[in-house]
């Protein structure tokens, strides 16, 4: 290519373009600009020149067509990128490249002009990635399985399930390659075996007491070391390739932290927060990727990584493709939890569990976790034998109402106290000792918890539809209400007409005296 737009400011470029009369060459310059800085003003300058050249030379019409095509796609914002076709793919792939640049901690090749201007020393300007590969050998899909409190996170299992599905298809389309789980912690041999049950062919783990909690430095060092196949012969002889072909990380706080660093260590890019994945070939015309303008090149076995964009109003598909003289592998992404289904675990699945071998340097553990706190899980009303729910019928004396409800709860072996939305949003002044029972975390209904216990006792609950959907599946429903027209009567098995302030204490009393057989009631018994 004759002219590299990267070397010029837009004004300089405009002057330089005057010397180019060949439409093909101008198209190449345009492509290079798009692939590079993609300055709007520069693109306009090239378009103007293309039009001028076109006026004299019909042969150049190719380029002009492309130009108008671009103008069109600019407008149709609602189309997802893959629908827009070639041009869009070029862009998506750029995005991956940008990520790679970000992950490395700075622009890959800062222009000399910029260096001169800012007056800084740029100590890393000459840094070249020592392990950068070209024409490397890549295989398998690696899945980083995050562990917390001695258990695999759900998203780890979800990713294994998706990886299994992808690699089964891969085996059908191309050849057999493996799903490799890699994980670390203070005791994860058992978890590595669990990974096999959830779909991995190989599970590589590293145990160390100091790895109980996530620490950025040692975790990323170990992960990169594993991926490169470094370590003793025994721990690496199951593989014979340079780096993984694909890597999946969970898009959790720790997974995001780790994924950027590890992918940078492996000198590749990262598509963050993806929600769908598939593998197929793709045809690319971007000269940065093909090596020469105007030529299309097919990339095989490309991991297509879809991510919600613009707050989820559209999806971008990110591709991570090799340059002619530099590889971008592994193709890696982080995956939003909940995007995929785990497979049903099969404890008889066969697979290879490998303990990773590596010396961990003391200085990696300079960061020490001195204190940690667990967030409260809130109140779970499900799974109890009995749920006692209080509604706005307690309004005459809200505090007493809650006290009576709690006494009834205590009289059962396994009961929980719930409330309606009407209580949560009321202005009732509860006394301190019952106030904790009147918060949103105990709300039953459409916007709260949905329960289906064997016995549901609704005291002073009118039975609005929004409440009904939260308890309708209960086996036996007993309603206590002064209003015989209350909606709840329509879906109760037993309706006690009465004031809850009188009925609740009597129920409690009867229970404590052993006069009331609850199982009989729950079974729809004879009395």
């Amino acid at each position: 290519m004759g002219l590299d737009p990267e070397e010029f400011t837009v004004d300089e470029l405009t002057d330089e373009l005057e010397t180019v009369d060949d439409a093909d060459e101008l198209s190449a310059v345009l492509e290079a600009e798009r692939a590079g800085q993609n300055r709007k003003t520069a693109r306009e300058a090239i378009h103007r020149r293309l039009e001028a050249v076109d006026a004299f030379d019909d042969a150049g019409s190719d380029g002009a067509d492309e130009a108008s095509e671009e103008a069109e796609t600019e407008g149709e914002y609602e189309e997802t990128r893959e629908e827009v076709g070639e041009a869009a793919e070029g862009e998506a792939e750029e995005a991956a490249e940008e990520d790679a640049a970000d992950a490395e901690g700075g622009p890959r090749e800062p222009s000399e002009a910029a260096q001169e201007e800012d007056g800084l020393s740029h100590p890393t300007a000459d840094k070249r990635h020592v392990r950068a590969l070209s024409g490397g050998d890549y295989r398998d899909m690696w899945v980083f399985c995050e562990v917390q409190q001695g258990e695999l996170l759900e998203v780890s299992k979800e990713m294994l399930g998706k990886a299994r599905e992808l690699m089964d298809q891969y085996a059908a389309d191309y050849e057999e390659e493996h799903v490799v789980a890699f994980l670390m912690g203070d005791d994860c041999e058992g978890l590595a075996e669990e990974c096999i049950a959830y779909g991995a062919d190989v599970a590589v783990y590293h145990d160390d007491d100091r790895l109980e909690r996530f620490l950025h430095k040692p975790y990323s060092e170990i992960a990169a070391h594993m991926a490169r196949g470094q370590g003793t012969v025994e721990s690496t002889d199951w593989r014979a390739y340079d780096e993984p072909r694909y890597v999946l990380f969970p898009a959790t706080n720790n997974g995001r932290d780790l994924s950027a660093q590890v992918q940078a260590e492996l000198d590749s890019g990262l598509a963050s927060d993806c929600s769908d994945l598939y593998i197929e070939a793709t045809e690319i015309s971007n000269p940065v990727k093909t090596g020469e303008p105007g030529v299309k090149k097919t990339f095989e076995r490309v991991l297509h990584m879809k991510r919600p964009d613009f707050s989820g109003f559209e999806y971008s598909t990110i591709l991570c493709l090799d340059n002619p003289d530099r590889d971008f592998h592994p193709q890696g992404c982080s995956v939003i939890p909940g995007s995929f289904e785990p497979m049903d675990p099969d404890p008889d699945r066969e697979g290879l569990v490998v303990e990773h071998d590596m010396e961990l340097e003391e200085e990696w553990f300079a960061v020490e976790v001195t204190e940690h706190d667990e967030l409260e899980a809130g109140v779970d009303l499900t799974g109890h034998e009995v749920v006692v729910c209080l509604g706005r019928g307690i309004g005459d004396d809200p505090t007493l109402g809650v006290e009576l409800g709690l006494e009834l709860v205590d009289a059962f072996d396994d009961a929980a106290l719930g409330i309606t939305r009407g209580i949560v949003t009321s202005s009732y002044q509860f006394e301190g000792h019952v106030e904790e029972y009147t918060k949103e975390e105990r709300q039953i209904g459409e916007t709260g918890q949905i329960v289906a216990p064997p016995l549901y006792i609704a005291a002073g609950v009118s039975g609005a539809i929004q409440h009904k959907v939260g308890m309708d599946e209960s086996e036996t429903i007993v309603a206590i209400n002064t209003d015989t027209d209350a909606r709840i009567r329509d879906f109760s098995d037993y309706f006690i007409e009465g004031d809850l302030f009188e009925v609740l204490p009597r129920l409690t009393e009867a229970l404590e005296a052993g006069e009331l057989d609850v199982t009989a009631v729950a079974d729809g018994g004879e009395d």
Binding site: Y77, E78, T80, V84, F313, G395, G422, S426, I465
Partner: protein, 566 residues
């Protein structure tokens, strides 16, 4: 490329469009459509899951002969696609107890009317949205639903764009606020306020299922005909307002509209007033025995006589439709959507005309003068009303007139044969109707005296049992934004916010399942009545924003109530 992303802050600049239209009702749709005609790159932001899902109207849309734009000019095929029925007959019923005097107002209805269709908003607005999206896509924009614009973006004190709950701020050369009666943008700009109940009406409506052939049979109309009935008189407990019934293709729209200040003053329950109409003997002939209500809805209506903004713009922001108070409700003339369409189209033309102008307010100024020159402002805010109201709305004058009407002399005056003819003619005069004072006289006393003196008694048994409020709420569709209520009570005392307990269309005294509940609370031996709020049943009408002390916003995009009929 596809939609452009801006992750960066100010240094990278915000996403920019030539025009942003907020709201995809008729006003927003008209504006966006005309902007696209002018080749303007236009982004439409709609907070509903689909246009129409947040929108309610009485249900008649007019095409006026004198209007510069009508909706079928801008959206050809609209009537065939989403018009329910053309309204070919128009009546008003003056009711006193069981006595009813009916006047045929078809002449008034047809005055300046090219056509008038009954419509349901979910269907109509969703159809408009699809057309708008198609048109605006061609000029580099489109419609985004589920996006709530929550305020104006300013730079150095000047309005330059909008901020959203869901997206990064977006800048534009023109911002059209077509965000409805509770326009958050109009208030952010300081152009409208939320203070005076007497500047608003509140309407509630039931959409009732009825087979098309049965409608034609019961209303004595053909397949391509429709009818509108208006109701006034003493069936609404003295609250100033009236009722309506419009025939749709296979439903009826039946509703009541009242002055909000009167609702508050009388402590009336809007849903009960609607029930009073539904169960009146007069309606038995149409409703029959089976009554199936598909949807209960409510909306505020600005009184354009008082609040139609004479200069609805600030910087590059223009207001259109309800957001600008452009809702004409003068006695039996009820027109809103047509004016919104006209205003939206004019705002777009104003922008196209002044596009190259460096002054950012020139579009707003041009829009204002086009509203005047086209006669739109004259209809919305008749000068003659401003002259007459000064006299006729004074309490003393009201009392005197009432006194005369209620006296034997007044009754005779209404009852004599000459007056009979004159009354029919007076109702049909747009000029006189435009002068009707907004007092009890026009709404209650005069119609009931007419009904009493001239009416014939209806003896039909009305067997309709309207659903209870709890069931009406239960039938509505909500996507509740759990833990993020869009209304907060600033003052929970009954004095400050108690009016909402009755005035809110989904609340009532002694009803625990509504938005606003009065609760007697005992603290340390003293007892006081407090008001509590649950926004879950909210139908987003805005009543409480005016009658209670609240911080009122719309729910986030796609959240809250979703009307299926509208």
């Amino acid at each position: 490329m596809a939609m452009r992303r801006t992750d960066g802050g100010a240094e990278e600049g915000y996403e920019h469009y030539e025009a942003i239209v907020v709201g995809c009702g008729p006003g927003g749709a008209a504006a966006a459509s005309r902007l696209a005609d002018h080749g303007v790159e236009t982004l439409v932001l709609e907070r509903g899951v689909e246009a129409g899902s947040k929108n309610v109207s009485g249900g008649l849309i007019y095409a006026e002969e004198s209007a510069p734009y009508t909706i079928d000019d801008l959206f050809p095929g609209m009537r065939e696609a989403v018009g329910e029925r053309p309204i070919t007959d128009y009546y008003i019923h003056n009711i006193a107890g069981k006595k009813v005097k009916t006047y045929d107002l078809t002449r008034l209805h047809e005055h300046d009317t090219d056509w008038c269709d009954a419509v349901l908003r979910r269907r109509m607005d969703a159809w408009l949205e699809a057309r708008v999206h198609e048109k605006t896509s061609e000029t580099g924009g489109g419609v985004l639903t589920g996006v709530r614009v929550n305020g104006l973006l300013r730079e150095n004190g000047e309005i330059v764009g909008v901020t959203c709950d869901e997206l990064d701020p977006i800048t534009a050369d023109l911002i059209v606020a077509a965000d409805g009666v509770n326009s958050e943008l109009a208030r952010d700009a300081g152009l409208m306020d939320w203070e005076e109940p007497d500047e608003w009406f509140q309407g509630v409506k039931a959409v009732v299922e009825m087979d098309g052939e049965r409608i034609e049979d019961r209303f004595a109309i053909g397949a391509d005909e429709g009818v509108a009935h208006l109701f006034s008189g003493d069936l609404f407990e003295g609250v100033r307002g009236g009722g309506f019934l419009y025939t749709n293709a296979d439903t009826l729209s039946i509703g009541t509209v009242f002055h909000l200040d009167s609702l508050v003053e009388e402590r009336a329950e809007p849903h009960e007033l609607l029930d009073a109409l539904l169960t009146h003997p007069l309606l038995a002939q149409w409703l029959g025995e089976e009554y199936r209500e598909l949807e209960y809805s409510a909306k505020l209506v600005p009184d354009s006589k008082k609040v139609a903004h004479r200069e609805p713009y600030r910087d590059r922001l223009v207001l259109v439709g309800d957001a600008a108070g452009q809702m004409q409700a003068q006695g039996p003339i009820i027109k809103g959507m047509n004016h919104a369409v006209t205003a939206g189209a004019l705002a777009a033309d104003a922008f196209a005309r002044t596009r190259r102008d460096a002054d950012t307010e020139s579009a707003g100024r041009a829009y204002t003068s086009m509203l005047e020159e086209s006669g739109t402002m004259g209809k919305l805010r008749p000068r003659r009303y401003e002259y007459t109201s000064v006299v006729s709305e004074r309490p003393l004058v009201t009392r005197v007139v009432e006194g005369v009407l209620n006296s034997p002399v007044g009754g005779v005056a209404v009852g004599n044969p000459l007056a009979k003819r004159l009354l029919g003619r007076a109702y049909n005069s747009p000029l006189l109707v435009g002068m009707l004072p907004d007092t009890e006289t026009g709404y209650v006393t005069l119609p009931s005296v007419i009904g009493e003196k001239l009416g014939r008694t209806v003896h039909w048994e009305n067997e309709v049992e309207p659903p209870a409020l709890v069931d009406r709420i239960g039938e509505l569709t909500y996507d509740t934004d759990v833990g993020n209520p869009h209304i907060r009570l600033r003052d929970e005392s009954y004095a400050a916010s108690g009016a909402a307990v009755t005035a809110c269309p989904v609340s009532a005294e002694d009803f625990g399942g509504g938005c606003y509940r009065a609760e007697t609370v005992k603290t340390n031996g003293t007892e006081e009545t407090l008001v509590s709020l649950d926004t879950q049943p909210c139908v987003e009408c805005g009543t409480c924003a005016i009658v209670a002390d609240t911080e009122w916003e719309h729910p986030r995009g796609g959240k809250g109530v979703e009307f299926r009929q509208g």
